[in-house]
Symmetry: C2
Subunit: 219 residues, 2 copies
């Protein structure tokens, strides 16, 4: 599958399938918005949610945030067969797992994204997994780290991301506590996919907020 960039990836960071489906219907805006089934959502209700989102939004790019750590082939196949266009593997996983995920995804035409969460040198790992053949990397500050470190979790982020975007040959996504004001600096740094969860899903009007993010990305 060919993907259009830049994109806003809306993370359905809830555990109830009906709430997730409603949010997806509210937030999808053609090719500009990718719909992410978050890890807790998948663990809560299973990958069947991806099929249900697919039926609701036949043309949408759907991202399965599997955060695969082992059994790469099985998990990538689960996501692919359910109708996902992209799925994630953890960068902390062994190369063997990433290669197994790639093998399954190639079979189904699914894109493989490596989530660089909790890696002390994410850029070095990004180069390694680019070499393994993944389609995209995601620089990601986890929700628990955001909560425990506050704003300091983002210190030096833009310069680091800018360096990553300049030196890697695959598209870069960024995730973790992104608010509207952070979008333009990240885009200017070369980021192709902006992942947003709570800033949209917990806003009073998720559709309006999504539109504001899309406009900021397309500006």
């Amino acid at each position: 599958m060919k993907f259009n960039f830049p994109a806003l990836q809306v993370a359905l960071d809830v555990t109830d399938d009906r709430v997730a489906e409603d949010l997806a219907l509210k937030c999808w805006v053609d090719d500009h918005v990718w719909i992410e089934a978050g890890t807790p959502l998948i663990k809560s209700v299973g990958v069947g949610i991806i099929g249900r989102l697919r039926r609701l939004l036949p043309k949408a790019v759907i991202f399965a945030d599997m955060k695969c750590m082992d059994a790469g082939f099985v998990e990538a196949e689960l996501a692919s067969v359910s109708g996902a266009n992209l799925m994630s593997v953890l960068g902390v996983a062994n190369d063997a797992t990433i290669l197994e995920a790639i093998r399954a995804c190639r079979k189904y035409g699914t894109g493989v994204v490596v989530d660089l969460i909790s890696i002390s040198n994410p850029l070095q790992r990004a180069f390694e997994v680019q070499g393994l053949g993944v389609d995209m990397v995601c620089f990601h500050t986890g929700i628990d780290v955001q909560k425990s470190m506050g704003i300091s979790a983002y210190e030096g982020l833009i310069e680091y991301i800018s360096k990553a975007c300049k030196s890697l040959n695959i598209p870069v996504a960024v995730a973790g506590g992104i608010t509207l004001d952070k979008v333009r600096p990240l885009m200017d740094a070369g980021v192709k996919v902006i992942v947003v969860g709570s800033a949209i899903t917990k806003s009073s009007d998720p559709r309006e907020t999504t539109i504001r993010f899309v406009r900021e990305i397309l500006r």
Copy 2:
């Protein structure tokens, strides 16, 4: 909850819920056997499978292999509310995530197990997470690494595990390609929980094989 040691943890390493339920019914042998809902099973059908296993086996110790990497509270709560007695967090996760999982598990009386998969110095990390307050650690060679490295994935394992069991204050579990002949050396090294997947689930008679493992553990 108090747990009885030693125990055999049978990993339901399948993705179909009916197959998983049948295997659980076949393999449970009172306190000696813990039933593990594997990560791909949870991602396939959701944590609801834990509640269904609970209804089938009201007294069984049920382990939710969540392999939590982020959103520690939410994922630990999902597992706990579904009826799990134990749940896993990844050792590669940030301390903040492990602490969040512990916080939720304390609320529900669920045990927290740290899965040390893909850590270059697992014993050092085991000490760290013991300090954070987790209930157990699991030395784990992933399925993809087993496949890619073969027997060399286990080189020096027994000596390493023996050292870990002697120096840690919390129970140690071991997982990854364990066959019947490996059980006694691991028990002698001080391991409290032996995790077995395919050697039981892919055997021609899972109940008979389970009984053989239980006898080896109790020997």
